[in-house]
Amino acid sequence: MLVIKNLKASINNREILKGLNLKINPGEVHAIMGPNGSGKSTLANVLSGKNGYKISGEVKYLGESLNDIPVEERAQKGIFLAFQYPLEIPGVNTNNFLKTSLNTIKKAKGEKEIDTITFLELVKEKAKELGIDEKILSRQLNVGFSGGEKKKNEILQMKILDPNLIILDETDSGLDIDALKIISDGVNSSRSEKKSFLVITHYQRLLEYIKPDHVHVLSDGKIIKSGTSELALELEKKGYKKLN
């Protein structure tokens, strides 16, 4: 699904990722853990195609190099990033945005666009699963949403857009236990042989709910250790410092 080889990324002449290697197979859930400033969010940004980074190395998605693929095409090809801080977009109705997004992706895939009624039924069903109050979907995108509502809205988007590779950037930050559980259930119910997840997190807590197949430790722009979910527990006990 995703193969990253010797990925380096710098911004404003500062190197953040310093030769990162990672391979994710279809159906796998990988967790990347690391202390603040280790490059976790940069990895998420770079995979999404965000502008402003100077990049070398190789990122292949479904066998195709992503190096020159712009942000929207990555999304259209099935890469989804759930943001750590979802942006507030004033004046843009959440449902309208979701429909535009879904239809743009469907169009790019050569699929038939979805009509409003079918779309609303789909949203209603997915929102219910995530315990999202439907009323917020007729409000402006993320405007005035609580932290939990914003994160749930990201997962709702994931469910509706139905991507192949899902990157969750600190989705657990700012969530209470109830919201964490709902969101994890949302993610777990989406797991399949065809979908892969890259879960980026600072704390082991999230991994109690979303069980990863592999855990990697990111430190100073490189993966310094990889293992099973046992590694996450070890980190929780010892802290990141011991590993350096």
Binding site: A75, F83, I89, G91, V92, F97, T100, S101, T104, I105
Partner: protein, 417 residues
């Protein structure tokens, strides 16, 4: 056209004047105009819109009137039921009030200088007083509330070129009356011309007037409108300005809140593209206690466009418990776009709630990125953000059919970008 554009007094002989008094008034105003010429940036009110320079650049000569007219067919609005008034080049052609009690409505064409507004500071008003030969008087009887809105179709004909048209309108609402007006400007001319209009609005006790100003198309017209309002107690004025489209447009509104508990609202959403220049200027005079006023101006400026907002809130010493709010927000889409804002408060009362603010900036890159990660192209993302920015104003229009119609009109402008 040279720098000292002057109009010969003999031009006034072309107007059907009422009497000697009318003629003298016109001659006097023409003299005032000829002394000053078109306003320049040296005049504080024209600081960001040097209309003398703009006119000099765009016109070699100007013809004061347009007698023969060639009217092409008009696309009347079908999306919602309405009464209509048709004005062609500023002249009242016809009107129809099929949803109303006609005894309650007075409408006539006039060119009586008795209806003139005076403002010695503003040479365009002098010019209007001197040469205005067309106009509309609309009066609504006490206690009459319109069933449906009136659309005033302001049509400018195909054959206008290098003309300087002057027109006057007056709208009077009786006590407890209510009227919604959509002023819909359709410009059929592909050429440049100037339309200088003054509007006088009188709202009697407890009257409610809502106006929406909308352009049907992009065009090369140069428009100036001075709107003077007088509000009696408990009256309510609510204005939505969606006037982007012409090459130059300045809407200059001055409202006197003369009776207590008035509520005066001016909201605007503009999309200024190409090399267009648009200014909104408001002056709200709080002359008595307990009134509210609110101005919210949102402008998107693209390419070489230029937007201006000048807003002043004046609060007289006796106007205690005034609640006045003014906000201007601009979104610049290009490095060459320009927006100027001059918010002013002049307050002489000590127990008031007044605030103002002004921001301008470019589209947030992180927001664009967020939308692009959901599959939208950069262009789609910017359009969505621009729509969202302007929706904050459009969303306040209560009638669904009217709002949808306006959303459509504005979306066409944005998508053309």
């Amino acid at each position: 056209m040279n720098e000292n554009f002057k109009i010969s007094p003999s031009e006034i002989n072309k107007i059907k004047v009422l009497n000697q008094k009318d003629k003298n008034f016109r001659l006097e105003n023409l003299k005032l105009f000829n002394q000053q010429g078109f306003p320049t940036r040296n005049h504080e009110d024209w600081k960001f819109s040097d209309i003398n320079q703009i006119f000099s650049k765009n016109f070699k000569n100007l013809e004061s009137f347009k007698n023969e007219i060639k009217l092409k067919s008009i696309n009347f609005i079908k999306e919602f039921d309405h009464n209509h008034i048709l004005m062609v080049n500023g002249k009242l052609e016809n009107s129809e009030f099929k949803f109303e009690d006609k005894n309650k409505i007075k409408i006539k064409s006039y060119n009586d200088s008795n209806f003139s507004l005076n403002n010695e500071e503003n040479s365009l008003i002098n010019l209007n007083n001197a040469l205005s030969n067309n106009g509309l008087l609309l009066e609504v009887a006490d206690n009459y509330r319109f069933e449906k809105a009136i659309i005033i179709y302001n049509v400018f004909t195909d054959d206008l070129k290098d003309n300087l048209l002057n027109n006057k309108n007056k709208i009077i609402l009786g006590k407890n009356s209510e009227l919604h007006i959509v002023e819909y400007n359709i410009n059929q001319s592909k050429n440049k011309f100037i339309y200088n209009t003054t509007e006088n609005i009188i709202l009697n006790e407890n009257a409610y007037l809502k106006t929406i100003n909308l352009q049907a198309n992009q065009n090369d017209g140069f428009f100036y409108k001075f709107s003077k309002g007088k509000m009696k107690s408990n009256s309510n004025y609510s204005s939505f300005i969606f006037s982007s489209g012409p090459k130059f447009n300045k809407i200059d509104a001055e409202f006197d809140l003369e009776g207590e508990n008035c509520d005066c609202n001016i909201k605007s959403a503009l999309f200024i593209n190409k090399d267009k220049h648009q200014e909104i200027k408001t002056k709200i005079n709080h002359l008595v206690p307990n009134c509210k006023s609110y101005q919210k101006i949102k402008s998107v400026v693209d390419a070489e466009g230029k937007g201006v907002y000048q807003g002043k809130i004046y609060v007289k010493d006796i106007a205690q418990k005034t609640n006045a709010y003014q906000l201007s927000k601009a979104l610049l889409l290009s490095e060459n776009s320009e927006f100027n804002s001059k918010p002013e408060l002049e307050i002489y009362a000590d127990d008031v709630k007044c605030s103002h603010g002004s921001t301008s900036g470019s589209v947030d890159e992180n927001s664009i990125h967020y939308l692009m990660t959901r599959g939208l192209s950069k262009k789609q993302a910017v359009q969505l953000l621009v729509n969202g920015f302007l929706n904050e104003i459009i969303g306040d229009i209560k009638s669904n059919s009217v709002r949808k119609f306006i959303e459509n009109k504005i979306e066409i402008q944005i998508h053309g970008y």
